[in-house]
């Protein structure tokens, strides 16, 4: 080093821009990320949206309230039940509709099964983004069994539109409870495989621990919710803070981790799957009997006013803000989707990291593109 040809201070690097997406497997859909790099180090990240913008908020303005439910299934297609649920709850609150106890229990079971499918898919795709291929097949194998149960009981696998104002679309089949019991038993067996394969994996831990730090202050400022924010120590579980449909009667833990990194977000989601199983088990043995929905009039009109309803989606706080002018169609319907707020966290946690960590960061935030674009 005494007579170097060029000293480090003379060495110059040049920033360059890499377009990731819109057709890139790691963006899980049609998101384009414009990453400015200096060598391998990320300097700036700018997400571009709109590749799957369908104008759902505009469309609801020309549809009735009951019809809007069917559009919400298409927002976050991995948690369609929960999307339907928020819309149904808001309409019920505004029109003061009582929901039968059986419908409430079925709704919670479906919500939690949906959270399981969503987190299972996330687990597979997160591991695949980091470089492990096998988990993806395991996740799809297990998710398929829950989707089969959805198909038998609701008629659809992905966009169920099963939870409607007043209750649920149809009663569950007579063999729902025994089948679900068998399913829960096998899910518990599968969960051990997940931990053997990935959680204890040395490479995976090194790719995630200490990477993608999102502090609690940043999470609050960015409006992050869901497992992303709970991994930064922010208590924001809507099921605990603003309970709906009888969550207050159930015993479950709000999973909070203070690690703030990718590993913490992984741990929170894995533990949330256990909590979902725990919630379903409480409801299975004492599923109330009776009606599964309240009969409603053909055209539903909400009293003039403004209503906001929120639920805990698989990704965070999902809210719907309805402005009604007393007519049969919403004057304005705004969906506060969790992914759109969480997307803001990608830049602050990635700047200064290596390009390969950007994939891990986006994977653990669990972005679903149609949920952002609407």
């Amino acid at each position: 080093m005494e007579n170097p040809i060029v000293t480090p201070s003379e060495l110059k690097t040049e920033e360059f821009v890499v377009n990731i997406g819109p057709q890139h497997p790691a963006t899980h859909g049609v998101l384009r990320v414009e990453a400015t790099l200096d060598g391998e180090i990320i300097k700036d990240v700018l997400p571009h949206l709109g590749y799957i913008h369908r104008g759902i908020e505009k469309m609801t303005e020309s549809l009735g309230y009951k019809q809007s439910i069917f559009l919400t299934s298409r927002m976050d297609y991995l948690s369609a039940h929960i999307n339907n649920h928020v819309c149904a709850l808001a309409i019920e609150k505004a029109a003061q509709i009582e929901v039968p106890a059986r419908a409430k229990a079925i709704r919670i079971i479906m919500d939690e099964l949906q959270r399981l499918t969503s987190h299972e898919l996330w687990w597979g795709s997160c591991a695949m983004d980091i470089g492990a291929v096998t988990p993806f097949f395991l996740a799809f194998r297990d998710r398929e069994r829950i989707l089969e149960l959805f198909e038998q009981n609701t008629g659809n696998r992905l966009t169920m539109s099963y939870i409607i104002p007043g209750g649920v679309m149809n009663d569950v089949r007579p063999d729902f409870v025994p089948k679900l019991k068998a399913l829960i038993k096998s899910i518990k067996e599968y969960r051990k495989e997940y931990d053997q394969l990935i959680t204890g994996n040395f490479i995976f831990q090194h790719r995630t621990q200490g990477i993608g730090i999102l502090s609690k202050e940043q999470a609050i400022s960015l409006g992050c919710t869901g497992p992303t924010a709970r991994a930064s120590g922010l208590s924001c579980d809507i099921r605990k803070l603003y309970p709906y449909d009888g969550y207050e009667k159930l015993d479950f833990k709000e999973v909070i981790d203070y690690g703030c990194d990718n590993w913490a977000r992984y741990v929170v989601r894995m533990e949330e799957m256990n909590q979902s199983i725990h919630i379903i088990e409480q409801l299975l043995d004492n599923l109330p009997t009776g009606d599964y929905r309240t009969k409603l009039k053909g055209v539903l009109k909400l009293p003039a006013g403004e209503y906001y309803q929120r639920v805990e989606s698989a990704r965070g706080e999902l809210g719907v803000y309805i402005v009604s002018d007393g007519g049969a169609k919403p004057y304005r319907m705004k969906f506060r989707t969790p992914c759109y707020s969480n997307l803001g966290a990608v830049k602050p946690i990635s700047v200064g990291m290596k390009i390969a960590d950007l994939m891990a960061n986006m994977a653990t935030i669990d972005l679903v593109i149609p949920d952002m674009d609407r």
């Binding site: 505009k58 609050i220 400022s221 960015l222 403004e306 906001y308 309803q309 506060r336 707020s341």
Partner: protein, 151 residues
Amino acid sequence: MIKEELKHYLEQTFPNSKVDETFDFPVLFITKEELIPVMKQLRDAPETKFNFLFCETAVDRNPEFEMVYHLSSTYYHHDMMVKVVLEDRENPVIESVYSLWEAADLYEDEIYDLFGIRFTNHPNLRRIFLTEEWVGYPLRKDYQDDRIISL
């Protein structure tokens, strides 16, 4: 604070502003000039600590626009709404709240794209969903598009 307490508190603290309520939240109406000081006060005052902007949107009340800010507190878990009426339909402009909440970056991009409301002091205002050449702002009530087919 529960809704009634919060409404009472807002009436006491902002005597010159109109305070109303919706089904869920108390609503504070302010002018666009006092947006940043009032928001800063709501965020930092020890009684309220509204440090979480969880939803920001606009409503087209033809002819005027209404900016709607949903605020929440991670300390007390109470919520409220702040509304600003923008009367200039041709050229609606309002200050960005990015200096208080980073979440406003994406929220305001969306409002600019779909309502055409411009935000001053915003770090990167762009049409986030539609193309830059898109004519009109779709969520406005008077938006016309020949390609819309109604059955």
